[in-house]
Every structure is written in C-alpha cells, then in structure tokens.
C-alpha cells in the first residue's frame, strides 16, 4: 500500500481577483521505502505541496491519504496524532528548540505522544546513534555544527514508528559533502521502509531519489523515468539516449 497519496490536490490563496493558485490538480503517490524528489523554481508550489502532504495545511480541493487514511475525514486531534506518530519533518533551517539538548529535541515528539520520558530518551538516543551522534546527545543546538544540527533534525524526523518523512530543502546551507550525507541518511531511512518526499531546487540532491517530479507554476509537468542501470554508464558501448 502507498504511504502517501495525493489525488487532484489544489490549493488557492486569496479570493476573487486576488486569488492565486499555489498548486493545481496534483497527483502523487509515494510507496513505502521509496524516495521522491520534487524539483521546481521558487514559487512553483513545492513547499505548499509538502505542507499539504504533511497535513499542516488543508487543500482547497482534492484528497490526501497518509497510510491509507483520508485526512479530510479526520478530526483535528486525529490529524495531530497522525502527524506525531507517522510523519517526520525536516526543514531547511533545522527548527531545533534552542533550550533542549540534542536528545531532548529528538525525543520530544514521542513524549508529546505519551511515551514515558525514559523510553522516549532511550529511543531518541538510538536514533542519534544511528546517525553517528550519540556523543553529542547532551549538547545544545548552538554547540553543534550545521551538519550535526541537521542530523539531529533527521533523527527527530525518523524517531519512533515514523513512516513518512517530508523534507524541505534538507541540506539548507550545508556544503556539498554534508548535503550528500543528509541525503544518504534519508535514503537509509527509506531502506528501512520509510517513504520520503524531498523538496529541493538542487539537482545533485534530487538525483538521490528514485523518482523526480518537476513542478512548474503549481502543476506537476513531468517526472523522471526509472533510470537504467548505473553500470551502463561505465559501458562505453551504451548509446547516448539523447543523441
């Protein structure tokens, strides 16, 4: 079953003459274990698509389903619970709480969901360890480098039983080596069964995805075909498909 499904989703802001269509008639399906990248210029609706997919915003029309559950039929509380339990977010500017340590930031969503402090901390530490950050668990965000902060943000997004990871320009202002490390972590989460959607304008990051969807003026205008085997690049006999 697909983890995320958007059917004919549209979102408009304003009314009458000032109405603007942020996204129009978007269809998107993301299976468990797969990584989908959304590429497009500024203002193409990438971030709007992500906030609607994560139930942070309501679509004007269309249907969003997470793990088979229709968001339209849910109460606010049910949606909040779904967000806490199933959906992890990674933002460009990390959005860590400055007054909490790394492990407290990571375990916070679990505690909010009623998990005991001890158990939440234990799961938080495990998530940090998985990303090579166990030694920094008790450091505050301002004691961490940019790359470390983003790793904490990813740990927070995948901690517990999260099965949908939504990332908006997750490499932020990180250099290309750290940006690649971020994508490797998201891909590792996908290999563990998480479905991920990454919004980016950076083709190097998008190229880690199984599928890249191109957005333009709020519409999904194109997407990549399943890529041929990478080994074909190393075979000089392969004919260049563009020629």
């Amino acid at each position: 079953m697909s983890m995320l499904e958007l059917r004919q989703v549209s979102k408009s802001y304003g009314e009458g003459a000032t109405e603007v269509d942020a996204i129009s008639d978007i269809d998107l399906t993301v299976e468990r274990g797969s990584l989908v990248a959304i590429m497009g210029p500024s203002g193409s609706g990438k971030s709007t698509l992500l906030t609607i997919a994560g139930s942070l915003e309501e679509p004007t029309s269309g249907e969003v389903m997470i793990d088979g559950a229709r968001l339209a039929g849910m109460s606010r509380n049910d949606k909040a619970r779904l967000r806490r339990r199933s959906v992890g977010y990674v933002f460009q500017d990390f959005n860590l709480l400055a007054g909490l340590t790394a492990v407290e930031n990571v375990s916070l969503p679990l505690e909010l969901d009623g998990v005991s402090m001890k158990k939440a901390r234990s799961q938080g530490l495990a998530a940090l360890e998985g990303l090579g950050l166990s030694e920094r668990a008790d450091n505050f965000p301002d004691q961490l480098s940019g790359g470390e902060r983003q790793r904490v943000a990813i740990a927070r997004a995948v901690v517990g039983e999260r099965s949908l990871l939504l990332a908006d320009e997750p490499s932020g202002a990180l250099d290309s080596v750290n940006g690649e490390a971020v994508m490797r972590m998201i891909l590792a989460a996908c290999h563990n069964g998480v479905a991920a959607v990454v919004v980016t304008h950076d083709a190097k990051l998008a190229s880690w995805a199984d599928r890249v969807v191109f957005l333009r003026d709020g519409k999904a205008v194109d997407e990549t075909l399943p890529p041929p085997s990478p080994e074909e690049l190393l075979n000089p006999d392969v004919v260049n498909p563009a020629s």
Binding site: L187, V212, F214, T224, P227, P228, L234, P236, A242
Partner: protein
C-alpha cells in the same frame, strides 16, 4: 584526460610493469573514462622515446617492460599539475544552441524543450549518484571522478533553470524581442568549435 601525465603520476610512486600500469590506470579513472588498451602502451612507448621514462630492456614488449620515471619526467609531471587547463574560450555547446533556436521558433514551446533536456540530465545524474550509493565499496578516486561528472551535469541543469527563468521573465515583461540573432551571440561569447 591526459593518459601521458596519469601514467607519469603512477610511475612517480615507483617502477612498474606495463601491464601493471594499464591495470592501475583502469582502476583509478578508467572506469569513468574508458579508453582503448592500446592507447596506454602507445603512450608508454612515447614517454620512453621522449626521455620521460626509462626501462632496462629496450627491446621487450611494452606490457613486460619495467618502467621508471626519469628526473625530466618528474619535472614534466610537476609542471603539468600546476598548469591550469585553458578554459578561457567557451566551447560550442549544442544544448545552448538548441535552446536558443527553440526560443526563436514561434511553433515550438521553448519551456517544453528545456524540460526534455532537464529531465534527461537529472536521469543521468540519478545513474551517476547510484554508482556512489554504497559507501563501503567507494574508491576515493572513483568518487572524485563521479563527483566531477555530477557537478558538470548540475551546472547544465542550473543553466537550464536560469534560461527558463530568464525567458519566462522576458515573456512576462512583454519584451518586444526575446531572441537575438545567433551569429551575434556566437561573436559575443567567442564560442568556437
């Protein structure tokens, strides 16, 4: 790709047999830039002729010879490493010309043309990225060569994005003439074959 200097670099590590040089060359960059095996042996013969390498058995087959780098070879290698390649003249870029032509033709959707190329290049980048997915099997020389290819392709996508944005803005601003005659563009950029 300078086979000549890559072979000198391998020999600067110590004397090596011809077949060994071919093998090491292929292991380092040959996977990304495949080449004819014969090119390696021909280049080894030329290096020896030019006094940049030497071997004890002049008559032996290039594969069986044990080569070592000479002081002149070391100087040549040092100088080559520090000489920037000539990037002053922009190359004649087929993709740039296609987009320029598409922007002039009334019945062609230039954005669709741009997207066709963008999609193809991103797919190509996905293939290159897959090659470095398994970090445990990633040789550093291979990773650097793959990165170089990814950065080159990324620059093309960025140019396509910039072209898309510039053409979009020009249309939005209702500029009377978006396209410029191609010969002028070529002269301005100094593009050459």
């Amino acid at each position: 790709m300078s086979i000549r200097h890559s072979l000198l670099a391998l020999l600067s590590e110590g004397p090596k047999y011809g077949f060994q040089l071919r093998q090491e060359f292929e292991e380092s960059t040959g996977e990304v830039w495949p080449l004819n095996v014969g090119q390696v042996y021909t280049t080894l013969q030329r290096l020896e002729r030019d006094g940049l390498t030497e071997s004890d058995d002049v008559e032996a087959d290039a594969r069986q010879k044990n080569y070592r780098i000479t002081p002149n070879g070391n100087d040549e290698l040092t100088q080559w490493l520090r000489t920037p390649p000539d990037l002053s003249q922009p190359p004649r870029d087929e993709l740039v010309i296609k987009v320029l032509v598409a922007s002039r033709l009334p019945d062609v959707d230039v954005y669709e043309v741009i997207q066709v190329h963008r999609r193809y290049i991103v797919q190509l980048m996905q293939q290159w990225t897959r090659l470095k997915e398994d970090e445990t099997r990633l040789d550093i020389a291979f990773a650097l060569a793959v990165d170089a290819e990814l950065f080159r392709l990324d620059a093309v996508v960025r140019w396509l994005d910039a072209a898309d944005g510039r053409l979009h803005r020009a249309t939005f601003d209702a500029a009377p003439e978006v396209a410029v005659a191609l010969p002028n563009i070529r002269r301005r950029t100094g593009a050459h074959r």
